[in-house]
Amino acid sequence: MLSVTVLVSIGRHPGSGRARRAVRDAQAVELALRLPNAIVEVVHAGNPDRSDVRDYLGMGIGWLRVLSLPAGADAVPPLVSWLRARRPDLVLAGTLAEAGEGSGMVPYLVAEALGYPIVAATTACELDQGRARLLQALPRGQRRAYSVALPLVATVDAAAPPARAVAFSEARRGRIEAAAMPSAAAEAALAWERGPARPRPKRLRAATGGSALERLRAATNLTGGGGTTLVHPDAATASAAIWDFLVREGMVAPANRDEGGADGRG
């Protein structure tokens, strides 16, 4: 039997701002629930009286541990002391929090304090005799396999299987077990000045070379390929035009056609 702890936080809906379970944290709970022979404990550091944390109970876990902390306290030291006392075999967490600073440091700080290795952005986990085989999500849909001896910390990426839906009755029935912890204020987070997000302008691709008129046209033409239209070309011209466009965009490499194959870190 394996002991798995999942660290969860309160999420925030990107459109309405409503508090709910965090998407990647819920995927981490889902990953833990799918592991065979695992005892799953879901831990949240924060306010045990908040109803939003009950969304995790709606996934059918039965009970949820909350390390009660006052608002604005640093979550890491209580989590670390809790985990040090229990030494779980696997600690799962989402990659980034959806509310607050969202530095993504908590799983790394926990791993460093416990002395566990950490693998980031995983989408699948298989356990086999004291070792875990993890799939990491790389950019552009690529995947890489890692094999690590337990115990370890893994963060779960958005590409992992989606979490099961929340059942209201389970959320109501589930137990919250609160544990009081000594806490200190997170002073460093208070030093930031908060304002609404301003969209940054997208960088225009500056054309170099050619005459000044061509560069001006390229800079003011906001549609990438120049907005060309070919009317009733023959199939060969059309396919050549599409091929050139793809080569220019870098979607295919002219000499090597094997663009979609597995590509590892260089």
């Binding site: 980034l96 509310a99 700080l109 009317v231 199939a235 035009a241 002219p254 000499a255 056609r257 260089g266």
Partner: protein, 342 residues
């Protein structure tokens, strides 16, 4: 950067007298390499170098490091995992360490930070590259890290927080993880890129890299796909369509009409009621471009459309539009792709 060759000045008097006018030898104006001998402080930049090359995100990070160094008379030191043109990208000092394992890289970076004592360390904020490395080393050395930094300055950085809804501004912590396009890449004179020797760091690896896992690009989830080939009502030759997708190594997608008719499963639907996609390139065959479908591809960077209707909305949206029957273009394109670059 080279100036274009100077225009030959005509000398009409010499031409009338029949004397040949010698063209001035084109002088390639070479900007002198900028050397910073005694920097006030160091900014350490660690590019991802995925596939052994500098990506545009990496170049932005190096540009940001250059800007931070130039603000106060400092120098840019680069810790690189592979060789590239760092002098042109603005590096004053270069440490080249060829390690691929993430734990060895973290140990090397920690040792480099202890050795060089930079004022700030800049990395690209990617989940499995610089973002992972920077956070690991921050946890190991007890240094604070700021992620998703949109603007970086010596006195003030702006980072996106609160689930992407807020911009937080404040004094920069030691480790800065930069978002893409947070700064312009360096376009000034070349720098020295003086090599630095680092003692190798011994690490017992705990995480074993089992290598890349083969991924079927054609069947990728649409949300993650980088290149999508989509079919609409104008496609009748499905054999040819799937051949084009397989030849290009692109993910298959479809409009709502096609999924309703059962030609493609529902999870392949692109659009407002399907999946909102954000690939770098979207190739649409026979799609008229209903507004809900265009909503689905709102974030696409490059769109190619093949449609027999000149006035279709998809033709207007596309960067390259081809008004022709999809059935004739698809086999020709598949053959062209298989031929490669002639």
């Amino acid at each position: 950067m080279n100036d274009p060759p100077k225009r030959v000045r005509r000398d009409p008097r010499a031409e009338r007298q029949g004397r040949a006018v010698a063209a001035p030898a084109p002088v390639a104006a070479e900007a002198p390499t900028r050397v910073i001998a005694e920097p006030a402080y160091l900014i350490l930049a660690v590019p991802d170098m995925l596939h052994g090359r500098l990506s545009p995100h990496d170049r932005d990070v190096l540009g940001a490091a250059r800007a931070l160094a130039d603000e106060g008379g400092g120098a840019v030191a680069v810790l690189a995992w592979a060789a590239a043109d760092f002098a042109g990208a603005g590096a004053d000092r270069l440490a080249l360490v060829a390690v691929t394992d993430c734990e060895a890289r973290a140990a090397t970076l920690a040792a480099t930070i202890r050795h060089l004592a930079p004022r700030h360390v800049l990395l690209p904020d990617t989940l499995t590259g610089g973002g992972d490395l920077g956070r690991r080393v921050g946890a190991r050395l007890g240094l604070r890290a700021a992620g998703d930094v949109r603007q970086a300055g010596l006195a003030r950085v702006v980072r996106r927080a609160h689930g992407g809804a807020e911009d937080w501004a404040g004094a920069p912590p030691p480790i800065l993880l930069l978002a893409p396009e947070a700064a312009a890449p360096h376009a000034g004179p070349r720098h020295e890129a003086r090599p630095i020797e680092l003692d190798p760091v011994a690490v017992t690896p705990r995480v074993r890299d089992d290598g890349p896992v083969a991924v079927d690009a054609v069947a990728l989830p649409l949300g993650e796909a980088d290149f999508i080939v989509a079919a609409g009502n104008g496609v009748t030759d499905w054999e040819a369509f799937h051949q084009v997708a397989a030849a290009l190594g692109a993910t298959v997608g479809g409009s709502r009409v096609v999924c309703d008719a059962g030609h493609l499963p529902r999870h392949r639907q692109v659009g407002a009621s399907g999946t909102l996609v954000a690939p770098r390139c979207y190739l649409a065959f026979g799609i008229a471009g209903a507004s809900q479908h265009l909503q689905g591809i709102a974030r696409c960077e490059a769109v190619i459309a093949v449609n027999s209707d000149l006035h279709a909305d998809m033709i207007k949206r596309a960067d390259l539009a081809i008004v022709a029957d999809a059935q004739s273009v698809m086999p020709a394109l598949a053959a062209r792709v298989r031929r490669g670059d002639a």
